[in-house]
């Protein structure tokens, strides 16, 4: 199935939780969805026989410019039917909250921990959301565009990049 058809079906099923379809400006046609219902949609996409999206290729956080919303992108693939779909969700910078898909695709466990670690996005329903690449007591979310590192970390000065 093409991404257009999948989007149409999702739209029909989830109504206004599916916000828009992005075809321009991306090589992978993307469906923008509401953050709190991502998990339900991913489950639907996985279990439905017409879709069978059993492989979550990639899950990434994104911060476009340091002021607007944070986003999370999901690249899905079906090993049986060999088709693709991409989902994207936007969430507020002040209190980023997205439903976790870690119980549906186990690979999301670590990918969501990484997004939390580097962007501070909270994934609700994640079994064990803690930092993965940085130390547990690191302050701040480095990949955000407005990230300013602290002065010291455990007594060591953090050098400023010129």
């Amino acid at each position: 199935m093409t991404e257009q058809e999948i989007y149409a079906d999702l739209s029909k099923k989830f109504g206004d939780k599916v916000i828009e379809f992005m075809e321009e400006g991306t090589q992978n046609p993307t469906a923008v969805v509401d953050p709190a219902s991502v998990a339900k949609m991913v489950t639907y996409l996985k279990d439905d026989e017409r879709f069978q999206f059993d492989s979550l290729m990639n899950l990434a956080g994104h911060d476009a410019d340091g002021e607007s919303e944070l986003s999370v992108i999901y690249h899905l693939f079906s090993t049986e039917l060999k088709h693709y779909i991409t989902l994207k969700t936007f969430t507020s910078r002040a209190e980023p909250k997205v439903a976790s898909v870690a119980n549906i695709h186990r690979t999301a466990d670590w990918h969501e921990r990484e997004a939390f670690d580097l962007y501070g996005i909270n994934f609700e329903g994640h079994p064990d959301l803690k930092r993965i690449l940085l130390e547990d007591d690191w302050e701040g979310y480095p990949l955000r565009k407005d990230y300013v590192p602290a002065e010291f970390y455990r007594g060591m000065r953090i050098e400023k990049v010129k």
């Binding site: 090589q27 992978n28 990434a60 476009a64 090993t79 990949l143």
Partner: protein, 373 residues
């Protein structure tokens, strides 16, 4: 007498350890020798590659990609170059495509040699490791001829290659290929069929296809479980559709499908297949062609995003690039195969002994450089 209070022991296979293939920490909860829970702790090699990429121009990022997966640098550079070229719609000359395939497949052979040798080392067979590195030296000589470096190349640039291959390269590669199949037969003699090795690897750490798919395992580890997904076949990129090669799958020849022996054997067979591809590419290599002709003067991909994946020796290497029209990417995420491959170790490692956990880790073939980036 009260009940015997037997506690679980928490054992730390620390970041410094001969067998964890890099700086990886494994927290093992064991009951005697049997492991009940494995928690990998990563991040010791985190060098903020993705943050750096947001401040570097596209062509300056190429050497950084090699340093993430340092055992398959050609593969990393290739995937990145193809992702940016797809965003910009660049057409490559035939010679460039053929040379890139040759280097990618030679890199696959070199990476699998390390994987096979290191796996033997983990279970105690020291000699095959040295034999594998003897072949790898020959491949590194070829890479040095072409790019000037043995391990980290900065050779596959966006739109072409850094330099053309010197005269004598094609002959030397043919020479290498002529001897290679005999060597693989040697490895099969000394390691693959060895009874003790089979006892250490067969039926250990069985990964069913469902577990593999849901944990995002890709590459030889996935194909060892019998799942026929190879991105060179599912989504052919570059010119892979012109070559005739098989995709080896695990068949449970010595134990169950999806055990460590299968993952190991898939890698051994893939080496022969890659040698086949290199030979075909050398035969079809166009003599004419300027490898730098398609390199754009300014690399400014149009506004948009892309997720492009390629088949690295470890699995599916994906690049998610977001561009806003400038010469510096807004976001560059490297979806590294070893990151997901490592996450499965708790699922398949539970209930085995410590020695087996080491064997399972060796069969997954991870490189901490690309896990931590």
């Amino acid at each position: 007498m009260g009940r015997l209070h037997a506690e679980e022991m928490v054992l730390n296979m620390g970041p410094q350890h001969p067998s964890t293939h890099g700086v990886l920490r494994l927290k093992l909860r064991t009951d005697g020798e049997i492991v009940s829970h494995i928690e990998p702790v990563i991040g010791y090699l985190h060098r903020s590659f993705e943050k750096h990429a947001e401040n570097l121009e596209y062509q300056m990022i190429t050497p950084f990609t090699g340093r993430c997966d340092y055992l398959a640098a050609m593969g990393s550079e290739h995937g990145y170059a193809m992702a940016v070229e797809k965003m910009m719609g660049i057409e490559l000359p035939e010679r460039v495509e053929y040379l890139r395939v040759i280097f990618a497949e030679l890199q696959r052979i070199a990476s699998h040699l390390v994987a096979v040798g290191a796996f033997g080392l983990d279970v105690g067979a020291i000699t095959p490791f040295i034999y594998c590195f003897r072949e790898r030296e020959l491949i590194l000589d070829l890479f040095e001829m072409a790019s000037g470096a043995r391990l980290l190349y900065n050779y596959i640039w966006i739109g072409g290659l850094a330099h053309d291959v010197p005269p004598g390269f094609v002959e030397k590669t043919y020479e290498f290929l002529d001897n290679f199949d005999k060597r693989v037969a040697e490895y099969n003699q000394i390691l693959t069929g060895n009874k003790i090795f089979i006892e250490r690897a067969a039926d250990i750490g069985v990964m069913t296809p469902e577990v593999a798919l849901t944990y995002g395992v890709t590459g030889p580890s996935l194909r060892g479980s019998g799942v026929n997904i190879d991105i060179r076949r599912t989504e052919p990129y570059s010119i892979y559709d012109r070559f005739d090669f098989d995709v080896p799958l695990g068949q449970g020849l010595q134990g169950t499908i999806g055990d460590s022996w299968d993952r190991y054997y898939v890698r051994v067979l893939e080496m022969t297949e890659s040698a086949k591809i290199v030979r075909q590419a050398l035969d079809q290599l166009p003599v004419e062609g300027d490898v730098k002709s398609a390199i754009p003067r300014r690399i400014r991909p149009p506004k948009g995003e892309i997720y492009f994946r390629s088949e690295n020796p470890r699995g599916e290497l994906g690049y998610y690039i977001v561009s806003n029209g400038k010469n510096v990417p807004v976001r560059l995420k490297m979806r590294s195969p070893a990151f997901s491959n490592l996450s499965v170790i708790n699922e398949i490692g539970q209930g085995w002994m410590i020695s087996d956990v080491i064997a399972i880790l060796g069969s997954l073939d991870i490189v901490l450089g690309e896990i931590d980036r």
